[in-house]
């Protein structure tokens, strides 16, 4: 079974800083990691490979330094890694990203299953997986917590707000995976060393014979008008003492807020 896992390199910190001029994320001094739930997608792929054989190919679109994320995926045990890096892809929204990833999958050729993380911690849209399935015209299963493959069919258990749902789809299909699906493995040191030396295939849009108008800013109907971090909440106040003292002070504090009048 040939599995493709789509990953994204994201800034590690939760304290995102934004350049007020350009509305772009400030990436300097911020470590980059594999989007955490994408690691669950890689783990799911590796487990399926262990059960069924085949290959795991990890792909991403991003600047040249996204290679680092691919090397981490190789260290976890992926067989191959491909980077789509093209200046014309800059500014891609989810529509444009799903286009480019779909073109990558087409070029790879025989693919039985495509796995993605549920969503990325930076953009948080969760749209690329479903978009990719639409672009490729194949079934999609989102929010999968369990996966199994039998007789060319995939069975997946989805986590929804109030219930689980078990679906069966024909392969090839796109599946997005949730964090609870598994516990991503730590890479073995042999693989860490191997991944450091591994050749990362790098493609441009021209290699894909893709339409540059559908990628990057040109292919992205979504425009980010402004990005800003939420206002920092002031620290709360801790009231200590006996129950009576705490109740007294709390009552006084509520009175001072003048909530009833407000």
């Amino acid at each position: 079974m040939n599995i493709v896992v789509c990953i994204k390199q994201v800034p590690e910190t939760t304290e995102v800083r934004v350049d007020p001029e350009t509305n772009a994320l400030i990436r300097e001094g911020v470590a980059s990691i594999i989007n955490p739930v994408d690691e669950n997608a890689i783990e799911a792929a590796l487990q399926l490979r262990e059960g069924h054989g085949g290959t795991v190919t990890v792909i991403t679109m991003g600047p040249p330094q996204a290679e680092e994320a691919l090397r981490q995926a190789l260290a976890m045990g992926a067989d191959e890694a491909i980077l789509l890096s093209d200046p014309a892809s800059r500014g891609s929204d989810t529509l444009a990203t799903s286009y480019s990833l779909a073109e990558m999958v087409r070029k790879i050729g025989e693919v039985d299953l495509i796995l993605c993380g549920k969503q990325a911690i930076d953009g948080d849209t969760g749209q690329v997986g479903p978009g990719l399935a639409e672009r490729l015209g194949i079934p999609q299963v989102t929010f999968a917590i369990e996966l199994s493959v039998e007789d060319g069919k995939l069975r997946a258990k989805r986590v929804l707000d109030d219930f689980f749902e078990v679906l069966e789809v024909k392969l090839p299909a796109v599946v997005t995976v949730v964090k609870q699906a598994n516990d991503p493995r730590h890479p073995g040191m042999r693989n860490v060393l191997k991944a450091k030396r591994a050749e990362i295939t790098t493609w441009t849009l021209a290699d894909l014979e893709a339409d540059p108008k559908q990628s990057g800013f040109d292919g992205s109907p979504t425009q980010v008008i402004r990005v800003w971090p939420p206002e920092k909440r002031g620290g709360g106040k801790k009231i200590e003492g006996t129950s009576e003292e705490v109740a007294e002070e709390l009552a006084q504090a509520i009175k001072e807020m003048d909530i009833a009048a407000g």
Binding site: A75, H186, P187, N191, L193
Partner: protein, 382 residues
């Protein structure tokens, strides 16, 4: 002089740190208190290719050096002292087979040790042979194509859980150190049994067991090195073992320092964090300086070993200094925590109990001083 790690070493250390932070450290207290062999952690060490770091790739190892092995060991010991101790004891079987084993022995025994498929242990200490290692009384007598072992070993780390043992015996008691012979003995060999598991001041999850040999027949081909060459096998093994113990000591000392510093910022007395007080600052400064010194001594010894240069004196210095630093640093950490430090609410009391091990195991501080003095008195006698 170059104090930077190579790119490979850096990549390995980064991956190991992540594993330590995410998997080992959060469960370290639990691992200690369980009082049972940390099977899951040991399995992970194998999965992460950490059980044979200095072993050549052809024998299933990572083909890296002892410096890397030591730096990794410090991370393991710092985040989970018990797991670090298993790692340190395992290498005591790896090293002698790597250094003295025939190709057949390496294929058969070094490979599974290096991949972590099998765990190793080293049996030297006996009730009557502690600091005086040459007083080993476990006898091995040739009988046809087997040696017959009789006697017992005590305090053996990983004992009972390990599958492969390097055992130091005497084949000629009249010749003392020159009559000693090393063997590889597999768990399950008839006549090889496990006795008492010591209850200790610390490390309840690390077995230190008695090994009992009663007419235990070990095939001749399991003789390691030369007959009557066992003292050399033991000394070479302990040389590396001392770097390992120094590594473990640095790990526990660093754990104490890393636990104490955040506490000094958080704990307020007299209306301010205690980190403002010079009495605390001076303790922190000494702890940090000594941990650094201990680490540098340890890494120098490992580096010398990697360069195939003599390292016996330097390993003894590292082991002596690091173990005493571990004791001092953990004691200071308890002092900084005050009353809380004496409770089991915080890990520092455990670190203090654990640190004591390092001043005793694999050559007491006194033995290290003997080794160092022997070298220095000879070297500087001009």
């Amino acid at each position: 002089m170059d104090f930077t790690f190579t790119e490979d070493q850096t990549a390995i250390l980064e991956a190991v740190k992540e594993f330590c932070e995410e998997d080992l450290a959060p469960k370290a207290q639990e691992t200690d208190e369980a009082g049972v062999w940390p099977a899951e952690n040991v399995k992970k060490l194998a999965e992460l290719d950490l059980m044979g770091i200095p072993v050549p790739e052809e024998y299933g190892g990572l083909g890296m050096d002892f410096l890397t092995w030591s730096a990794v060991g410090e991370e393991l010991s710092c985040s989970c002292t018990t797991t670090g101790a298993v790692y340190g004891a395992h290498v005591l079987a790896v090293v002698p087979i790597m250094m003295f084993g025939s190709d057949e022995q390496k294929q058969k025994y070094l490979k599974p040790l290096a991949t972590g498929e099998k765990i190793g242990a080293f049996g030297l200490t006996e009730p009557g042979a502690g600091s005086d290692a040459a007083a080993v009384a476990t006898k091995a007598e040739l009988d046809g194509d087997h040696y017959v072992l009789n006697g017992s070993k005590i305090f053996i780390s990983n004992g009972g859980e390990a599958e492969l043992y390097v055992i130091i015996t005497t084949t000629d008691p009249s010749r003392g150190a020159r009559g000693m012979t090393a063997f590889i003995v597999e768990k399950g060999t008839p006549g090889f049994e496990f006795g008492k598991d010591e209850k200790k001041m610390a490390f309840p999850s690390l077995p230190n067991r008695e090994l009992v040999f009663t007419d235990c027949r070990v095939p001749k081909e399991n003789l390691l090195g030369r007959e009557r060459g066992g003292f050399l096998v033991a000394m070479r093994t302990l040389g590396v073992g001392r770097i390992g113990m120094a590594t473990g000591a640095v790990g526990v000392a660093r754990a104490a320092l890393e636990a104490a510093v955040p506490y000094t910022h958080q704990r307020e007395q007299f209306g301010q964090p205690i980190s403002n007080f010079q009495a605390i600052q001076f303790m922190v400064a000494d702890m940090a300086t000594e941990v650094d010194c201990a680490r540098l001594l340890t890494w120098r010894a490992a580096w010398l070993k990697d360069q195939n240069k003599p390292f016996e004196k330097e390993a003894a210095m590292a082991k002596l200094y690091a173990s005493e630093v571990a004791m001092r640093t953990t004691t200071k950490a308890v002092q900084i925590f005050g009353g809380y430090g004496y409770t089991r609410e915080f890990p520092v009391e455990r670190y203090m109990r654990e640190a004591k091990l390092f001043e005793i195991v694999e050559g007491t501080s006194e033995v290290q001083r003997m080794v160092i003095a022997n070298h220095v008195l000879r070297e500087l006698n001009k």
